[in-house]
Structures are given as C-alpha cells and as structure tokens.
C-alpha cells in the first residue's frame, strides 16, 4: 500500500505557548481537512474499525456523510451510538479502539476517526442542532446516581423515552471525571456544560450536593422510583503505601486535579482554592491521570515535570496522543523505576524519592511482561510528588451496607445488561468495571437504559 495518502493532522498550539495557559491544545479539523480525511483512501475500507468501537458506532457511514458535507445527518446518526461525539472524539483512546482496527493502521496511517468524530460533534454544538423528537411522558420515574459519562447516557436515553429523571450528584458540578479530572486543555469544560445543559432541556432534574448513601439510601430510592441507576465511578485514590507519603507537597493526582480543574486552583487567588507546585515535580504512574497531572504541573510553573513509571515507554497506558503532546511540552520520562520511600530534608516537606530500579521479564501466565525489582536503588531530587497509581470504587455510596453484591475489589456485580443483585437497581461505568474509559462507561449506560426500559415495559 505504498501509494497511501498521508493522514490529516489537527493543528495544535505551539508547545511554548500552550504550557503557559490552560486553553485547548488541539484545534480540531477544518471543514476541508475533515472532508479530505473522511474520504482518504476510502477504496481500502473494510469497515473493520467498527469492531474496535465499544459502542459500535457505524464509522463508515459517518465517514461517507462527512465526505459528502452532510454534517447534520452524520451527527444525527452518530449520536444513536455515541451520544456525545465532541467528548468521545477528544478523549477516546482511538489507537486502541476504532483506529487500531482500521485496515490502514498496519501502514501506520489509520483514518483519524477520533478527529472526524470531534469535528461532527463540534459542528453540531456550534450550529445548535436541536432534538427533533417530542417527548411523551410515560409516567415512570428513574433515579440516576452520579453524573459521569455512564449516568449522563442513562439520563438522556430514558428522558427521550419519556421517563421522568432525577439525577443525584454529590459534587457541585455535573460531569464526573469530565469536570473534576480531565483538564481544560484537553476537554474544554464549556463542552461538558453544553451537554449537561441538553440534559436539562430534556427535562432531567439535576440535584447537586446529594451524597446517596448518607443523604438518601439506595433502598429509599428503590422504593420511591421505578428504577435506580448507580454510576458512581471509581475515583477513590490508591496510595503508594511507602514511608513519607503524608509529607507536605505530596498529592494524590485526584487532589491535585480537583484543586486545579474543579476548584479552578490554577486561577488562585481569583478562585479561593490554593495549590502548591514546586520547581521539580515528579508524577508517579503513566496513565491518563498521570499525563493530566504532569502537564497541569508544567502549566502551573514547574521547571521540570517528570513522569516516573515502573515499566517502559511501550507499556504506557495513557492515550497515545496525550503522551506525544506531553513529550512536545518538554515533560521528562523516567522508566523502570518504582518509589520505595519519599524523602525529606526537614521532616516536613518532600525533597526526593528513593527509587528501586526495575526490569521487565517474560512472563508465562500473562500477556504483558512482568516487572521485577533489580535490587539497585537510585534517588531523584524533587520538591513536589503527585501519585497517580490507580483508583478504587467510590466509597461514599456505602455499597456494602445496601445489600448489593460486589466482587472482592468492591465493584458492583451486574449481568451483561447492568442489572445488579437488587431488583430495580442497575449499575454501570467504572463502579462496575473498575477504571475504564469514557466510551466504555457510556456503553454501560446505554446497556442499562435499554434493560431498564425493557424491564419496566413488560412489568
């Protein structure tokens, strides 16, 4: 396939400028680019990309409509499977989903499906494409707990079908990780705000500041509503469990990102929530959370911002595009190192990390290589440490006390359609799968809304 055309690339702001603010890094396709990319080498298309999309977007159809310039129709068809393309186009790890299955991927030039999806989503938001359907209330009430991607899909699906929806969110802003975790420079909050506004237009009643579990129990909700959906996520940070973890200037990534994004600490003192960022910042871990933290630290003035990861470049779990962006922004990467102690010169503030050198070995029972300590240690001098080593299921729901079956990691057990062990109670998203992706959470939301509608229709 030597004669393949090059991929269209989204324009990006220059690293020297973008590390000084929180404005979006990638600027999206122009109309010309979208059309060109949607029809690029289309003669080879085998529609294999659809295998990679967790919600089964009809990608070839989207490409055809975009190539024809029929964006509105592309949008209307797209949202049947992926209701928020402006979001998923930006945050899906396309290199491991749709784009990995593109026939052109083998040549390193898969169609930029994410960028096209983003283009369609942005076009619809900019042109204020409205719902066509008129909603006929069906007299049934559903409680949706949490307001992350899984819950947003359940609420919007069921509201369209005529259900009356009360959404309960403990935070002061709806959106889950989309507003408290993923930074503005990757997903402008205006987009999330607009999508949440659409929910309100559909008649969804969003009640902020209500921690379900203590303010109202799952049992109470199950009695008051015809069905309950639990989409409370997995955002309870794991700790490193090494000495020195509670020194000053050691943050969990979620605290750091919550202070920066949700509480707008990057605009302190205009906003009241403070945030310390030193000159040399180390972030432990290499997932999306780590990439977001390290790039946030850079933007807040860190002279050196370093990712410390126990495996190597190849195993980085973060979205590929963001790893490239981070590298462009001068983020340093230190591989095959695992923290064994956080050090302090004055017993108050962190001053360095003692690290174990690691190595990768072939492992028989696992696809991934195993990582083992070498016995050699080294030291890294830093003045701020951010830990991004994973999450547990969100605890505030107090799931254990509600008679719901969970697995040994505290995740809610469901059947393939999101039905829990309690009748009338459904769950989906990270609370079921553990840390997953936005589109997987949305897929669970779609399955649960389908199950709820089916179960209540036959009742």
């Amino acid at each position: 396939m030597k004669q393949l055309t090059e991929r269209e690339r989204m324009a990006k702001r220059l690293p020297t400028y973008r590390i000084r603010d929180f404005d979006e890094v990638e600027l999206g396709f122009t109309e010309d680019q979208a059309i060109r990319e949607a029809s690029r080498d289309i003669r080879f298309c085998k529609a294999s990309c659809m295998l990679g999309c967790p919600v089964g977007v009809n990608i070839p159809e989207m490409l055809r409509l975009v190539a024809e310039g029929n964006y509105e129709e592309a949008y209307r068809r797209l949202i049947k499977k992926s209701p928020f393309p402006a979001i998923t186009g930006r945050v899906c790890p396309q290199e491991r989903q749709c784009e990995m299955f593109c026939v052109l991927a083998k040549a390193g030039k898969p169609i930029s499906i994410g960028a096209i999806e983003r283009f369609v989503g942005d076009w619809a938001l900019a042109n204020n494409v409205k719902e066509e359907a008129t909603i006929k209330p069906n007299g049934l009430k559903v409680a949706v707990v949490g307001s992350g991607p899984a819950s947003i899909v359940v609420a919007s699906d069921l509201a369209r079908l005529g259900y009356s929806i009360d959404m309960f969110e403990e935070s002061h802003m709806a959106g889950g990780v989309l507003v408290y975790g993923i930074p503005e420079f990757r997903l402008p909050k205006e987009i999330v705000r607009k999508e949440v506004h659409r929910l309100k237009e559909l008649g969804v009643n969003i009640r902020l500041g209500v921690p379900v579990g203590t303010a109202i129990t799952i049992g109470e909700l199950a009695r008051e509503y015809d069905a309950v959906f639990l989409g409370v996520g997995a955002g309870h940070p794991k700790f490193l469990n090494v000495p020195g973890e509670n020194l000053l200037n050691v943050y969990t990534a979620n605290e750091f990102l919550t202070r920066a994004n949700l509480m707008k600490g990057y605009r302190f003192p205009e906003y009241d929530t403070p945030l310390h960022v030193g000159k040399r910042v180390a972030v432990i871990g290499a997932g999306n959370t780590a990439m977001d933290s390290v790039r946030t630290a850079k933007r807040l003035g860190a002279e050196e911002a370093i990712v410390v990861y126990r495996r190597s470049r190849q195993e980085i779990p973060a979205r590929a595009e963001e790893v490239l962006n981070a590298e462009e922004e001068g983020i340093k990467f230190e591989f095959l190192l695992e923290p064994i102690e956080l050090l302090s010169n004055d017993k108050r503030t962190v001053s360095g990390i003692k690290l174990m050198k690691m190595k990768l070995i072939e492992s028989s029972n696992c696809e991934r290589k195993a990582v083992v300590p070498t016995g050699d240690t080294t030291k890294l001098d830093v003045d701020t440490v951010i830990t991004a080593v994973g999450f547990n299921p969100n605890p505030s729901l107090k799931i254990g006390t509600n008679g719901l079956d969970t697995d040994d990691m505290g995740r809610i057990k469901v059947d393939g359609q999101g039905r829990t062990s309690l009748k009338g109670v459904y769950a989906g998203g990270d609370i079921v799968t553990g840390e997953g992706t936005v589109i997987e959470a949305m897929g669970w939301g779609r399955r649960a809304s389908t199950a709820i509608n089916e179960d209540l229709s036959v009742r």
Partner: protein, 279 residues
C-alpha cells in the same frame, strides 16, 4: 417557601464566632450526630467542611457554628439572612459510635463546644454525660446553656480563669480523672493541639478516647485524599473513615503539620479579601 441553601438565621455567639441556620431539607432528614456537610459560599469559593450542630427534619433546617479564621469562614460569616449558599452537600462522614449505660466525658474547646453538642444530645439518652467545655476567657463562652441541657454535669475551664476553672480543658480532664472519677469513654473535639493534649491525659488511664479530626478537606467524599491522616500507622481518609478516630492511635504531629500546609496562600487570600472589602 424558603429556597434550598437559604440562610434563615444568623447570630453572633462570641467575637469571630457565628451560628448559622440554613434551609437544607435533604440534609436535615438524614443528619446524625458526628456528621458534617461541605459548603461553598460562591462559585469561586473553596469547599469547606462544617460539623452539623443541630437540625430539624420536620422543618428542614440545619445549624452550623463557624469560627471566622480565614477567607472562607469570613465570607460565610458575612452572608446575610435571605441569601443562599452556592453549594451545600451532606451529610458526610460516619455517625458517632453508639454506647449504652456508660459514663462518658465529652471535652470541647472553643468552636469544638458546639460540635460536641449533638454528640452529647445523642449519648445522653442512654448514658451519663459529663461535659468539659473550655474557652480563652469569660467573653468567649458559648453554647454553655445548650451543653447544660444535654449533660448531667458541666465543667467550664478558661485559659485565664475569668470563669470556671483556670487552665486548659486537658488540665480539667486530668483533674477529674485524678480525683478518681471513672469514665468508660472520652470524646474530644477542638483545635488539634488540644485534642492531642487530651488524648495524652487519658492514655495512662487506658480510657477509650475518640477525637473528631478537622484535617484540610477538598471533596469530603473520599475522592481526593487531601484529608488523609495516619491512624495506627495506616493512612485513613478523615471524610470516609472518620471524622471520629481512636485518639490514642492518631499521629497528631502529622495532622498539625498538614493543617499548616497552605499558610502562605491562606494569608495571601485573606489579605486580598480584606483589601477588597475595604475598598
């Protein structure tokens, strides 16, 4: 009808200390002694935790007592009756441990006194409750009558001796125990230094001692870990695992260190606020 999060009443209890009653029906119907709420005064504000001091499920209100120590508490104190708070969520945290037919000593210091009120009220139903309440001086006394209503005995201590016993609450607690009074459990709420001192007093007596911690908190719901504390050598979340912990197991020095983490920023923010209010 009132608006949700509307301030219904406000009164000054002592210099820099205000009692605020807020319309929050969702919280009031579920509130239990020992729990707290989180508040934002405005869209740009910090999210801060406040203990639930009193509430009425039938009338839909909750009561908090704030000590104006910094930017957020000053902003909160300046909100007038009829204004609404941008955000109020709760209840969060675990309710107070239950005990029966025991003798319990409750120790409250300063704005910790209103915080022990709901605990005293809850525990006094089935237990004998002795409350030790401590203040700087006679002018800073608050919640004396309220504590009296839910305690079998009240001991007042002031740092300068201008009312009640002279000395700290920890001194009064030591005297009481040294005099041979038996207690099955002790609760302490107040500044971290005071809670630390009290827990040292009860340690040699091996009396089960609970403290309600006030670590710096961002989310209040177990998602950020800002409020982490070391208890019995393990890292715990104040908001999810507490706020009540075994006082003998708490690493007090670490808590005190972490409470000071943002001293510089707090000063800056406060200075800016005061300048603005003056202009």
């Amino acid at each position: 009808m009132f608006k949700v999060n509307e301030i219904l009443m406000k009164r000054q209890l002592a210099s820099g200390v205000k009692e605020i009653i807020i319309f929050a029906p969702m919280v009031s119907r579920a509130a239990k002694a020992g729990q707290f709420i989180t508040i934002m005064t405005d869209e740009k504000g910090e999210r801060v935790p406040m203990t639930l001091v009193d509430w009425s499920a039938t009338e839909g209100w909750i009561k908090i007592v704030i000590s104006e120590v910094g930017l957020t508490t000053l902003k909160l104190g300046s909100k007038e009756v009829g204004e609404t708070l941008y955000y109020l969520a709760g209840p969060f945290g675990n309710p107070v441990s239950e005990l029966n037919s025991s003798t319990i000593i409750l120790v409250g210091g300063g704005v910790g006194v209103p915080a022990i009120y709901p605990i005293a009220r809850s525990l006094s139903r089935n237990n004998t409750v002795i409350s030790i309440i401590g203040y700087k001086n006679a002018n800073s006394i608050l919640y004396e009558r309220e504590i009296g209503e839910v305690s079998d005995e009240v001991i007042i201590a002031t740092d300068d001796g201008s009312k009640g016993q002279k000395g700290f609450t920890s001194d009064a607690l030591r005297e009481l125990l040294d005099s041979g009074r038996k207690a099955d459990a002790v609760w302490v709420i107040g500044p971290a230094m005071m809670m630390k001192a009290c827990s040292e007093v009860t340690r040699p007596y091996a009396i089960k001692t609970f403290a309600s911690l006030n670590s710096i908190t961002v989310c209040g719901s177990g998602m950020c870990g800002a409020c982490r504390v070391s208890v019995g050598g393990k890292t715990k979340y104040t908001c999810m695992d507490g706020p009540e912990f075994d006082a003998h197991e708490v690493n007090w020095d670490e808590l005190i260190l972490r409470l000071g983490a943002y001293k510089e920023e707090e000063k800056r923010a406060l200075g800016r606020y005061i300048l603005r209010s003056a202009n």
